[in-house]
């Protein structure tokens, strides 16, 4: 019997390392003679440093150096030398480049000392004087300055289809509203950290918190002019990232700078407060105008987004693609404009654009459903599309209708009364709401290496990351199943820049990309095994082609004559006990180009809202997800559960508040920036809807990293409306908005 590891709920292979504390995260590697770096941040949000006095810090015994713009070594000048795989168009920020301050909490110095505590103290003694300039951090006040970037980071918004303004003017039922999504910070539990180790040879070994070790490797190589082969970046465990590790952050640059200059090993760990000093999900205002016929057919959608970016890079994300992906409507126009502010460049954060765009679109559609007096599910079914209308391509698979059906059934949606404030229990108003969402299933080119030892142990590697998503586990499952060997005999290695090339770990594409490469490299090994077996005397496999053989239970055999079999170890014994190696790179198949591929979700939510006090409790969530083949239903379910928690945070709690007087984020710690806690989370149900897809990639899996979050916040907002009759269009929905 062939073991079907994929599709089977499997415990994490790295579970033991994580529950015993053996798993090493970036700041945790034991390095001899380690120095500690602590960053000093700017007090102002715009202007110049007029004087920086490091003498008091340097006077302390045990302080090795204080790096500032005044004493840092010469830098290479080109923007391209500081760009990374996730850079938006523009001129990337360079730490300690000059005396200019471009955003509040900008790093202005790095203190390096013998101990962490000493460096932290010395950082307090760095004395900076500034000349402030007027800053602008208020998106709303600066909307008149919105511009269309010359170049978009993601594909530019689609051209208009049909005549949205005309159709809107003629529509029988209309909605025109604005929606505000505040700035959020990723706040992974592990703070960003790097250890840079300078070696006599000039080589650098770096432990970094990053979602792609080769991204850090190239960045450091370019920025410091060190050959790539002399930079090794290692990151076996990442304590969450959610996008914060897509770009190398400034602690990496500063650790390497100090290590090179001091010819030592230097560790720099950001503080939680400093985790608010770089990229964030941008504050975005969306204006939606929707027209429909009286019987609920969508006639027009206009979706226009205005988002903040920095003065130096044009960040944008896919906020306005969702009408074309989710709704059948002939007249659509969308736009995405930016407002340059004196803040750091925004940064992709879990389902970038999807979270923001779906929140607005799905609340607006709920509002339309109420204007039409139609059940929200029925309204969506009425305007269902089989095609991705942005690209005018069919979906490679789309089981969204089944998500509605199964989700609604599990939730008990049929019992819902349309009327708001129709359910009550004591002081608690009960509301039921729903929303749907999508996330693109993409495949990037990725490579993997496989080594099969004479004892039958398989080691597969690729320079990807496991940010908690289960990469170690699912890759092991794919390799074990493909090779027909036991899961315990497979080791998957990642997070080392010397490993075969991998894309950034993000965009929900890791299973699709790296998983496909893992499958391919195992198939290459199989071809080599067959060739080796054919070299045996009187080999029963001499005439067999690779299509004729199968691999199961550690054996290779003729598919048509299973009795003709040989163990992999016996084959390997032919090669004088040499391990067998293969390397392979997998690109997306051309046939994908004719299709559009998205995962889909439908989320149903129950809330209880106190009629007097405005407190909201999310008592039930059912998320039905169609995402192709689920390689590991156990870790996959955890991703969707996590997405639901994120949805609660987005809907009710998270908000990085800017004080525009000083141009500074003021909720810059975990006391003031509220992440959901255990007591916020109640019954949560995940349904994986079966979805077969032979086009999306060789595994048929679409990825689960983002689809779990997108439809949760709007479903909660819609449930709050159903409970209270109050439509909140500005997140988070805090109690004051419901009183």
């Amino acid at each position: 019997m062939k073991e079907h590891y994929t599709g089977t709920a499997t415990n994490r292979v790295d579970g033991r390392a994580k529950v015993t504390g053996e798993a090493k995260y970036a700041a945790e590697f034991e390095v001899p003679d380690l120095l500690y770096g602590v960053v000093v941040n700017s007090a102002i949000s715009k202007g110049k440093i007029t004087r920086i006095d490091t003498s008091a810090a340097l006077a302390l015994p045990g302080v090795h150096q204080v790096f500032t713009h005044e004493n840092r070594p010469g830098y290479t000048w080109l923007d391209s030398h500081y760009q990374d795989e996730d850079s938006p168009p523009g001129s990337p920020f360079r730490p300690l480049y000059n005396n200019e301050i471009k955003f509040s909490m900008q790093p202005i110095a790095l203190v390096v000392a013998d101990t962490f505590e000493l460096a932290r103290y010395a950082a307090l003694l760095v004395h900076a004087e500034y000349e402030s300039q007027p800053h602008e951090t208020d998106l709303e006040a600066n909307l008149p300055k919105a511009y269309k970037p010359k170049k978009y980071k993601s594909p530019p918004p689609s051209d208009p289809r049909g005549d949205a303004p005309g159709a809107f003017a003629a529509a029988e039922v209309k909605l025109e509203e604005a929606y505000a999504h505040p700035a959020h910070h990723h706040n992974p539990m592990e703070m960003h950290a790097s250890i840079a180790i300078w070696q006599e040879s000039g080589k650098l070994t770096i432990y970094d918190k990053i979602q792609g070790v080769q991204n850090s490797q190239k960045y450091i190589s370019n920025a410091f002019g060190v050959p790539q082969e002399d930079v090794q970046v290692i990151s076996p465990f990442v304590g969450g990232a959610f996008g914060s590790g897509l770009r190398p952050q400034y602690q990496l640059f500063l650790a390497v700078l100090a290590a090179k200059e001091l010819k030592r090993a230097v560790k720099v760990v950001l503080t939680r407060q400093q985790m608010f000093s770089f990229g964030h999900r941008p504050f975005t205002i969306q204006r939606l105008a929707i027209g429909a016929s009286a019987d609920g057919k969508l006639e027009s959608i206009s979706h226009n987004a205005f988002a903040e970016t920095s003065r130096f890079e044009d960040y944008n994300e896919d906020v306005v693609i969702w009408p074309g992906v989710l709704y059948n409507c002939e007249n659509v126009e969308v736009s995405h404009q930016l407002v340059g502010l004196d803040v750091y460049t925004p940064l992709d954060m879990r389902a970038p654009g999807g979270t923001t765009g779906t929140f607005a679109l799905e609340i607006a559609m709920d509002e339309m459903a109420y204007k039409l007096n139609m059940d929200p599910v029925e309204f969506r079914l009425k305007n269902y599309t089989d095609k991705d209308l942005n690209k005018d391509k069919p979906h490679s698979s789309k089981e969204l209708k089944e998500c509605y059906r199964q989700g609604a059934e599990r939730f008990g949606w049929a019992k819902r009364k349309m009327e708001p404030r129709s359910m009550k229990e004591g002081h608690q108003l009960i509301g039921w709401g729903m929303a749907h969402g999508a996330w693109e299933a993409q495949q990037q080119e990725a490579a993997a290496k496989a080594v099969l030892s004479p004892t039958g142990k398989l080691t597969v590697s690729s320079a990807t990351a496991d940010i908690g998503t289960g990469t170690y586990t699912v890759m092991s499952q794919i390799a074990a199943e493909t090779m027909g060997i036991a899961l315990e005999d497979v080791t998957f290695e990642l997070g080392d820049s010397t490993q075969p090339k991998s894309p950034l770990e993000g965009g929900s594409w890791t299973v699709s990309s790296v998983g496909s490469a893992v499958k391919l490299v195992c198939e290459k090994l199989q071809e080599q095994l067959l060739k080796l077996a054919q070299k045996m005397e009187n080999s029963p496999f001499s005439d067999a082609k690779i299509e004729d053989v199968s691999f199961e239970n550690g054996q290779m055999f003729l598919t048509q004559a299973p009795a003709t079999s040989i163990s992999l170890q016996a084959i390997l014994a032919q090669d004088e006990g040499q391990p067998l190696e293969a390397e392979a790179s997998q690109k997306p198949d051309k046939k994908q180009k004719n299709y559009s591929s998205y995962s889909h979700s439908a989320t149903f939510v129950e809330v209880k809202v106190d009629e007097d006090l405005g407190t909201v409790k999310v008592t039930r969530i059912v998320s039905a997800v169609a995402a192709g083949r689920i390689i590991n239903p156990k870790t996959g379910r955890s991703q969707i559960l996590g997405g639901a928690v994120w949805g609660i945070g987005v809907a009710l709690e998270e908000h990085t508040v800017l004080d525009h007087t000083i141009g500074r984020f003021m909720t810059h710690d975990l006391d003031k920036y509220h992440l959901p806690v255990n007591a916020d989370v109640h019954e949560t149900d995940v349904i994986f809807v079966e979805e077969k897809d032979e086009i999306v990639n060789p595994l048929g899996a679409k990825g689960l990293g983002e689809i779990g979050i997108v439809s949760v916040a709007p479903a909660i907002a819609n449930a709050v409306f159903h409970a209270t009759g109050k439509r909140i269009r500005e997140l988070p929905i805090t109690l004051d908005k419901l009183m």
Binding site: V126, R272, S638
Partner: protein
């Protein structure tokens, strides 16, 4: 003009640098003599001096719970206490839970219920579940959720963490 950290705010008695002293910490049943200044937290002593990095730093301010360890069997935030103040106490970290290579039942339950993703909050969550069992105050599901709310999980594994906690209470798997 904005200035900060102006020199001159120092009091006359502040030492240039703190003097170190021998501090004896009992961690996971073993006594360690460390040369520490009073400004070293238990968390930094564990991570930077004893290289016991299983205990995590997630905020350094008692706002996340990643640094949770057991002090004489009860949960504390190791980031908010000084090592010099915890001599002669029994500190248990995640590294001290498995016995002879066999995982503590709560550790095993975290794996079986997939009660984590990135794993960074996990040692704190595990110590917190064990502490909750030891402290004996959780009776209802709502109690569990409230008494486990001192451990933030950004990956959002709460539903599964609660299952572990319920199981640990039923089986009384404390220290």
């Amino acid at each position: 003009m904005h200035t900060e950290n102006s020199p001159g705010t120092e009091t006359a008695v502040r030492p240039l640098l703190p003097e170190t002293r021998t501090v004896t910490l009992r961690v996971n049943g073993t006594s360690h003599q460390l040369q520490l200044a009073p400004w070293t937290s238990v968390l930094d002593a564990l991570r930077e001096h004893l290289h016991l990095t299983g205990t995590k730093k997630g905020c350094d301010h008692g706002q996340c719970g990643a640094c949770t360890v057991l002090l004489d069997g009860k949960r504390i935030n190791s980031c908010l206490t000084l090592a010099v103040m915890q001599e002669n106490k029994e500190i248990t970290t995640v590294e001290g839970l498995a016995q002879n290579g066999e995982l503590h039942p709560v550790q095993q339950a975290f794996i079986d219920h997939d009660a984590f993703q990135c794993g960074y909050c996990t040692p704190g969550q595990i110590c917190s579940v064990i502490g909750m069992v030891n402290e004996g105050k959780a009776k209802t599901l709502d109690d569990i959720k409230d008494l486990m709310s001192g451990n933030i999980c950004r990956c959002g594994a709460y539903v599964n963490i609660v299952k572990v906690a319920q199981e640990a209470l039923e089986k009384n798997t404390g220290l």
